[in-house]
Amino acid sequence: MSAIPRNQWYVAAYGREISHELFSRTLCDEPILFWRTEAGSVTATSDRCVHRRFPLSQAPSRLVGDQVVCGYHGFTYGADGKCVAVPGQTRVPRTARLTSYPVVEQDSFVWVWIGDPALADASRIPRVPYLDAAGWTTVSGREPLAARFSLLVDNLLDLSHETYLHGGYIGTPEVANTPITTEVDDEAGVIYVSRHMDDAECPPFYSRSTGLEGRIARWQDIEYTPPCLYKLHSRIAPVGSVPNPDGTDPDAFHVEVVYAITPETENSTHDFWAVARDFALEDAEVSAFLAENNRTVVLQDVEALDVLEKIIATEPEGYQELSINIDTGGLAARRMLARMAGARDEATTR
């Protein structure tokens, strides 16, 4: 059985990656072709020609105006995936059509609905407006992960690993030694994990970018909406400072860390990461520092999870693990993901 939940929205790309050129990416085991029409909207269809399955992203396949011409025998498709011309005959078979995917471009991401298009509801896409809003500056990237997406979910829901895997970057001793509160709303599909360190060492990641030195208040609030979007609301402030009752928080620095966790296949994952900040907006050095540092942290995780994938891929089903307090949120996420993946099987066997 597949562990990948279907009938879900997934991040396929950053909007900046898609231009008026053929672009291919595999999501949830489906090879998908993307391109931007001359009017500027993003299209997503199957990347396999209906004739003999030649990849439409592969030269000599090409884009001519708002039509894709297959590089093998010339089947030609419109932006909606419908075949408009075939070689040597005037009649185009009525069923000649590429599977097309619902697409929404929002908050700097291109989201794609994987599943039954009739169920796609764009209002259910989780929002991250700060990735593309005035008053914020964002750095972002994507790393390939040769591991199943659930390993990255596990990793991100337990930030106590920062102390060990990312010591010297974002980890400090307090991260692993602070109590956490976990909240789970099954109906809304949200897992929220708070860790509020009110007197903590300032890790280099934040001292270099905020200028705060010594002890700080460091709050980490994880908000995960399975399967794809993970947000870490990070607040860094002088010790003793708390937000005002009206929600304003002038003494604090806010960093919104976002991950989009999109399965590529059952055993590989697109690890999209973004770091938005509400301070030093024009400071290119801070941008370069945060980008470089966060990418290093992401690659530390990637390296560890690639190793872990190789190990568990060879172990029999139901291998033994031991869960402790820090795993409370991760266990909740696993359960929600299993239910989402299972719901698909129910729907297709009915």
């Binding site: 909240e183 809304a188 949200v190 929220y192 509020h196 929600g247 869960s323 307090n325 795993d327 409370t328």
Partner: protein
């Protein structure tokens, strides 16, 4: 030190788990207000998800607090 972060999610069926400050114990709070402490998160989830089996509502439920704007 803030022993417990204030509730953030405001649905009708929210499970909350507090890591009890200064201990190794987890306090599970069901949406029905039943509470129980655990040392193992796996057992904790079994109990929470077993609602309503064995869930006796707490004698004095915590009054709902103002929700922080997210």
């Amino acid at each position: 030190m803030i022993p417990e972060a204030p509730p953030v999610l405001n649905g009708d069926r929210v499970y909350r788990i507090h890591w009890v400050l200064g201990t190794d114990r987890l306090r599970a709070v069901c949406h029905c207000s039943a509470e129980r402490e655990f040392e193992d998160p796996v057992e904790l989830w079994e109990w929470l998800l077993g609602h309503p089996a064995g869930h006796v509502p707490a004698p004095a439920p915590v009054p709902p607090r103002e929700l922080a704007a997210v």
